[in-house]
């Protein structure tokens, strides 16, 4: 049950969900949710490999930094989304066509 293959399948599934969410969603916040899923999938892969393949804890440091980067990314990304909403009154992704307001 708890084999490397199952973990890899779960993380692939997470990644694909995130990918579809990023491509299909038209809501900027929902796109950010998809990015969170993708980052989680990659972090899960690191931990799974470090458990089953090589016996050190480097695979625990990496998810830590992935989580940190994800948090920073969420903070800045959401700030951009909110600012965008204040300027264009929309968070539709097709509205984001200009570089300068």
């Amino acid at each position: 049950m708890m084999t490397l293959t199952s973990y890899l399948m779960i993380s692939t599934f997470l990644f694909l969900c995130g990918l579809v969410a990023v491509i299909a969603r038209k809501n900027l916040i929902a796109v950010l949710l998809g990015i969170e899923l993708i980052l989680n999938a990659s972090a899960l892969n690191f931990v799974a490999y470090t458990r089953f393949v090589n016996n050190n804890l480097d695979g625990h440091i990496f998810p830590l930094f992935i989580i940190i980067v994800a948090a920073a990314e969420a903070a800045v990304g959401l700030a951009i989304v909110i600012r965008f909403f204040q300027i264009r009154e929309s968070i539709h992704i097709d509205d984001a066509t200009q570089l300068q307001s």
Binding site: I67, I68, A71, A79, I82
Partner: protein, 142 residues
């Protein structure tokens, strides 16, 4: 405890989380048998002190809530990094390498302190942004 990695220590966590969920669901389902149920139009409107509700509640928000959340998440992440270092600091001090770790902690914290000092300086931490104290009553702001 055997030498193998066992997840038995997480059993109470799982049981307690389930107990929490089951308590809510069971109490609501059991209560359905005994409690009255006669909804009416006015009973189901949101409470607004007797007035008819105007519009939806999901609209008016202020940016400062987000800024608070922003500073919080930076500090949360910082604590996630600091906890392991805090755990080993005493042991490192005992083997004579405390100074090195102390310097590392200091650098880490000072960078973050400069961040919060910047936000403080720029007024992001002030809740009432437009409030400018006049000369005679300027002892309110911290």
């Amino acid at each position: 405890m055997e030498a193998t990695y066992s997840l038995d220590v997480y059993t109470p966590v799982v049981i307690l989380l389930f107990l929490g969920a089951i308590t809510v669901v069971a109490a609501l389902l059991l209560g359905k048998l005994v409690r009255p149920h006669n909804p009416s139009e006015s009973k189901n409107t949101p409470y607004e002190c007797g007035e008819q509700p105007v519009g939806t509640a999901w609209s008016f928000f202020n940016m400062r809530f987000y800024v608070i959340g922003l500073i919080f998440i930076i500090f949360d992440v910082e604590s996630a990094l600091m906890f392991p270092v805090a755990v080993i600091f005493k042991k490192m001090n005992e083997i004579g390498r405390g100074g090195l770790v102390l310097v590392e902690i200091m650098i880490f914290l000072s960078v973050l302190i400069s961040g919060i000092a910047y936000c403080w300086r720029k007024g992001d931490l002030d809740w009432v942004k437009s409030y400018v104290p006049s000369k005679d009553t300027n002892n309110k702001q911290g």
